[in-house]
Symmetry: C2
Subunit: 121 residues, 2 copies
DNA sequence: AATAGTGTAATATATTTATAATACAATGAA
DNA sequence: TTCATTGTATTATAAATATATTACACTATT
């Protein structure tokens, strides 16, 4: 499971953890009922405080993406049928956001297309 | 000058102000020596505290994007020759970020291309 | 000169974010 | 049962973020 924390990011650390795990779930890298790393393990891995990880897990749980049990651990909770729809929606949302930013910068859809073509070479 | 604040965004308000003004400068909507809105005016417009706007302006000044004078106001400070290069770099940076996220989600460059083609119709 | 508006600065308060250090009940395996 | 690990919870402290309020020197205009 790929996950890195950017201390210089304007995004709060626990938000970065939330986003990274969400991405991993939507990508299918983490499936329904898969175990998440323990709070203490992930904190040690990322070199951040366990409380910060717990806060992220708590938020993910509030959104229905996982569930934690005291003696056991935390497990991914996603209706398997929904995963791919969420994945597609996430892609389109990110793409829309990018296009809006490009438009704000004064770039046309053609400009973006050309950038894409250049990238493919 | 288009500028809105999303209170629900995980990004701090003053960071949102910084990003929005940077975008406006790089797009060419704000050119070298153009006046920025006064701190109090922008605060009233965005319904946030003047101190928060001042913090954003201070950060922009530290990055060399503007300059403030006491009795006068704040003005954009960008070497005119650099603007378009920065604009292009911003576009490519955003695109790269989007592609990375798409890759993490398990989408190929072909998938993104198809999404683009679908968008153009 | 007077005045309104400017950036800048300082103080105070509250909330959010992050860390540190414990504690405890629940779980699962030895 | 014993024991290590788990999520959860609490308390404390610090830093960052945001607001509120006030003050001051500077600028441009009247």
């Amino acid at each position: 499971m790929k996950l890195t924390i950017d201390a210089k990011s304007p995004l709060p650390v626990y938000q970065q953890v939330i986003q990274a795990i969400k991405l991993e779930i939507l990508s299918g890298g983490l499936r329904d009922n898969d175990p998440l790393p323990s709070i203490r393990d992930l904190a040690k891995l990322l070199r951040i405080n366990p409380n910060t990880v717990a806060k992220a897990y708590y938020a993910l749980e509030a959104e229905g993406f996982c569930e934690g049990r005291s003696g056991s651990g935390s497990r991914v909770k996603v209706p398997p049928g929904r995963q791919d729809g969420l994945r597609q929606a996430m892609l389109e949302g990110e793409f829309k956001g990018f296009l809006e930013k490009a438009a704000t910068l004064g770039f046309s859809l053609d400009d973006v297309t050309h950038l894409m073509e250049r990238t493919r070479k």
